[in-house]
């Protein structure tokens, strides 16, 4: 149940291996990597609200652990300036069975997208522009609410 907000890149293979290392009850590890897409942008800068970011990520992970039968959860989110193709975010979940791992991993991403205080600014040919929040992200998150989806 570990959360990191950092400038540095991370080692996806090592993070995934750590989710089941020494735990022979872990039969399933689901993970997600989000990357900077290059569509018309030269770079992206991620701003965050230090303190609240870590707190909100920890709350999202705790909620996932409450909803599903999980063994370990790892969230890493980068901040600062990133180039197209660079990794932004990692979410990894281990569990006994795959259903819990898949559901929790997608849940953490959906909640992170709508509840964790990060903001993206894109640099392109036309200058720099803050990314608008997407309604589809709200819809994705609301699937997990009672009566949602």
């Amino acid at each position: 149940m570990s959360v990191s907000v950092q400038k540095a890149d991370f080692d996806v293979g090592a993070e995934i291996a750590a989710l089941s290392a020494g735990d022979d009850g872990a039969g399933a590890v689901a993970s997600f990597v989000g990357l900077v897409r290059g569509a018309g942008i030269d770079a992206m800068t991620l701003e965050h609200y230090q303190g609240m970011t870590e707190k909100s990520l920890a709350e999202i992970v705790a909620e996932a652990c409450h909803r599903w039968n999980l063994r370990r959860v790892r969230v890493i989110h980068r901040v600062g300036r990133l180039l197209p193709g660079e990794r932004i975010v990692f979410v990894g979940v281990s569990s006994s069975h795959r259903r819990d791992a898949f559901a929790a991993c997608e849940f953490v991403m959906d909640y992170l997208k709508t509840r964790a205080p990060f903001w993206k600014k894109e640099e392109g040919a036309a200058g720099a522009k803050w990314v608008d929040a997407r309604e589809s992200d709200d819809a994705a998150a609301s699937r997990w609410e009672p009566g949602g989806g």
């Binding site: 992170l112 997208k113 205080p117 993206k120 997407r134």
Partner: protein, 83 residues
Amino acid sequence: MIKLLYFAGLREALGVPAEALALPAGVDTVGTLRAHLAARGGSWQVFATSRSLRAAVNQAMAGMEAPVGSGDEVAFFPPVTGG
């Protein structure tokens, strides 16, 4: 005194990332704080006009009715776009 923080496009529009504010009389919720800030005029009117502005009190998301008191950390920002 409260600590005020502004993030992302809002921070850029206001030209200030943070400030300390002595709470005026009658300012005791996120909503009344927004009205107080909007009254500064100029770019601060966004606090009256924006429907998408979000607030957090002591690092937890907060609605307009959330109480604000001395010692609190209050942040305003646009909808989040991480991930």
